[in-house]
Each structure stands twice: as C-alpha cells, then as structure tokens.
Symmetry: C2
Subunit: 219 residues, 2 copies
DNA sequence: AAATATTTTTAGACTAATCTAAAAATATTT
DNA sequence: AAATATTTTTAGATTAGTCTAAAAATATTT
C-alpha cells in the first residue's frame, strides 16, 4: 500500500501509544503525540479506517489492524536502523539522530531497509538501546526495569531511554550517562521522589522525571 | 532558507536544463523535465522569484540566481553522494539507485552531507561517473567526449552516462558496458548513424541514441 | 504585415493536510 | 439524574501543489 509520510506518522504514533506506552489511543493522545489538533486526528483516522489500517468507532479510541501493526513495525525498524547508521557509521551523537531518522525512515524502496540491516551487521538494539524489529517484525527482548522502579541495592546497566526529546538526551550527556554504563540503586529520597544512584562509580542524584525515563537491564 | 522538496526539485531541473544540458529554461522544458504541466511551472517560478532563487521576466526563460545555483549544487552533491553510498556500500546496482537518491537528497540536516562525504572518503565521481560537487560547490572536471562524437580510431574509457532512465541503464547492463571499460571507436555507419566500437575487446554496434548518451574519458 | 501556430500565463477548481470555532457526544461531578 | 466539564466530531476556511481550459503573448509561416 502506498502511504504518505503523514499517514505513516499517524500509524507510528498509534503504535507508540498503544503498544509501547500501553495507553489507549484517544484522539487527544494522538494529537498531543504528533503536536497537531484533535480535529486533524479525527480526519486522518477516518482515512486510515477506510484503508483498513485502523479499527475505528466514533468517540472510541482507535486500534491498529494487523496491517497497521505491520506497517508501524517496519517504520520502527527503518527508524532504528537509520539511527544506528548515523551513530555507528557517520559518528553522530545519539542525541542528534532522532529528527534525521524521522526523515530517512520514510524513504520508499522495497530492498533498502534489508540491505541497510545487512550492511550494519543485523543489529538487535539501536544506539538508544531500543530493540530493532527483525525483517519478520519480531522485537528482540531483554530483561529491563525502569530506573525509578529499581529496589535498594539492585544493580544493572543502562539499556535504553524512554524519551527521545533532544533536551533529555543532552541532559544525559551532561551527566556523562551512556548506554552500557553500570548502575547501582542506592535509595529514593521521599521528600521529592528523586533517587540516589551510583553510575560509573560516581554517586549522583537524579530527579524522578529523569529516573522514569531511563531503562536498566537487570544483571 | 527552508525549501520544500518540490521547490528544490524545480531548482534542480532548472540547473540541469541550463547548466548541464546548455538549453534555455523555458516553461515547457521545465514542465517536461519534471513531468508536470506548464501552468504548474509558471506558478512555482513565481514563488521561486519571490524567494530570489530565480530571475524571472514573464514569457522569458528563467535563470537561477547565485542563491539558486548554490542550492541546486548542494542538492546535486547530496544526490550523488547518496548514490555512491547505495552502490559502494549497500551493493545496489547503479541502475536502481536514482529514484532512491531522489528521496534521500531531500533529507534536511546541516551536517549530514558533509559527514556522509567524509564517510565515503570524499569521492570525486559517483557510480554513474558524474562529478560530485565539493562542499564549496566546485565540480571536479575531467576530459570527456560523447561516444557519438569520437573520431575513427580514437580510444578512451567509459566515464559516465548522460541519462538516468532505468531502461537505458538496464540496456547498458545487458551489453556488459560499465563505467571504466575501454573503448575504441571504429566507424559510424552512415545508413542509420549507428556506430561500431570495441568495448572490452568485443566489437559491437550501438544505436545513435545509445552512443549519444555515453560519455568517454579521452586517453 | 497578416494569418497561423506555439508558448506562456491566468482563472478557477481539486486534493491532502491542516486549522479554528461551533456542535454533539461522552464522562464526571454534584 | 441534572448540571457541568471534557472529549470528539463536524463545518467551513486555508495552504501548497497540482490540473484543465481559456486568454494573452510571442514566434513562425505565408
């Protein structure tokens, strides 16, 4: 099916909200995710429903159809492979690559993404630590926990981030926090829910928001 | 300046017609080049004139301004670097890469193309043999002659093609003609203007159209 | 130089995606 | 369950790019 970049963006947004964030894909949630307005979302949802990419009943949250899930997954695959290329090969900083990959992921060619995958050595995780779907649409898994949910004394390594906002990624850079770093959870400070952790042998305090957006692979 | 992909395509078309093909950029010539209609061209030319990218007087052919030339050149640079990436790194056949590069060239990021250039080792010519403008906008040169214009007994190597049409590139593939092959011009057959040449130690006949679209580097 | 042909421009309409503002439906509070 | 608040949808407008058909300008032929 030939979809516009915009249609593809909507499918990705619905996938992110439902499958990744486990929320229901209301009109407003989608609008917020795509920084557009609710009325625009309603229009587009109708279009996608005609194309059988979403299941839609008026005033109800939307769901992706099997075809919709397939398309969204292959977009995520494309996005994450391009991010891997930009960081590993072109030496971009991982905080810069999201907006570029947003554009690259929409390039249409039947062979491109599989060739890129092979060229990069079929990586399982991207520079943000997120799983790259295989060409069959399967997401590689690993045992992860959100930093804020760790127990006192628990150890692990930074595995991925739950937000792609450039300011968030820069904050991590400023704190010298990278994918792969060792973490030990010390304790949560009840006053403001901030947490005390050891990362790279340095004891630091992270805000609740910060710690809610960092995913740790259990050891 | 923030230009849409469409605006960029018009600038490239005007550059190709004026500078590469040495013709004047009439409304119809541009329309034909972009497979659109004359009325659409007029509308767009007016837009580009307001943005000072072209010099335009009603009913006259358009010319690119200095800014227009700069933009067109950097698009050609982007296009040819992506083609090089697709062929050299992703192992595409050179006949397949044009339409993919058409999409990739529009990806917007201030550092991307220079990083790609460095990654590829700052190549001077793309897989079609065409010069890749440097980051300063200079076109690398070499001594070339169109195959049809060679003199009897003259020798050279296939340097580039003057058409990107997929069917043309496939025809070259079928004849086992590649960039870098040695050529010796034998004679032109006056009956139909076809030519007799030795390519890779094989004597073959090429149609006039064919030979008009192959560029040979003189030895 | 008048008649004809070609090219270019204008006028008005269409599509995809968006928006604002109002209306309708659903959800929450009292 | 009535009143209020929130969410969603509709209606109508806007913008970028395109198109067809007609009008205007330029070019060519006789």
């Amino acid at each position: 099916m030939n979809l516009s970049s915009t249609e593809q963006d909507y499918l990705k947004a619905i996938f992110a909200i439902t499958t990744i964030e486990s929320r229901s894909a209301n009109t407003n949630a989608i609008a917020e995710h795509l920084k557009t307005k609710a009325s625009s979302v309603t229009d587009m949802i109708k279009k996608l429903a005609v194309k059988k990419l979403v299941k839609y009943e008026k005033y109800k949250p939307v769901h992706l159809s099997a075809a919709g899930i397939k398309t969204a997954t292959s977009l995520i695959r494309s996005h994450r492979l391009w991010e891997t290329f930009l960081v590993d090969r072109l030496k971009y900083d991982w905080s810069q690559v999201h907006t570029i990959a947003e554009q690259l992921e929409h390039v249409k060619d039947s062979e491109l993404i599989d060739k890129l995958d092979d060229y990069l050595g079929n990586p399982s995780f991207d520079p943000h630590g997120d799983p790259i779907p295989t060409r069959n649409g399967a997401f590689p898994v690993r045992e992860e926990i959100t930093l804020i949910n760790m127990k006192e004394g628990q150890c692990g390594t930074i595995a991925s981030v739950l937000q792609d906002d450039e300011s968030f990624l820069e904050a991590l850079n400023d704190l010298d926090i990278c994918i792969g770093n060792d973490v030990e959870f010390l304790k949560q400070i009840s006053f403001d829910q901030s947490i005390k952790v050891i990362i790279n042998n340095e004891t630091i305090i992270l805000s609740e928001t910060m710690a809610s957006n960092i995913s740790v692979q259990k050891i």
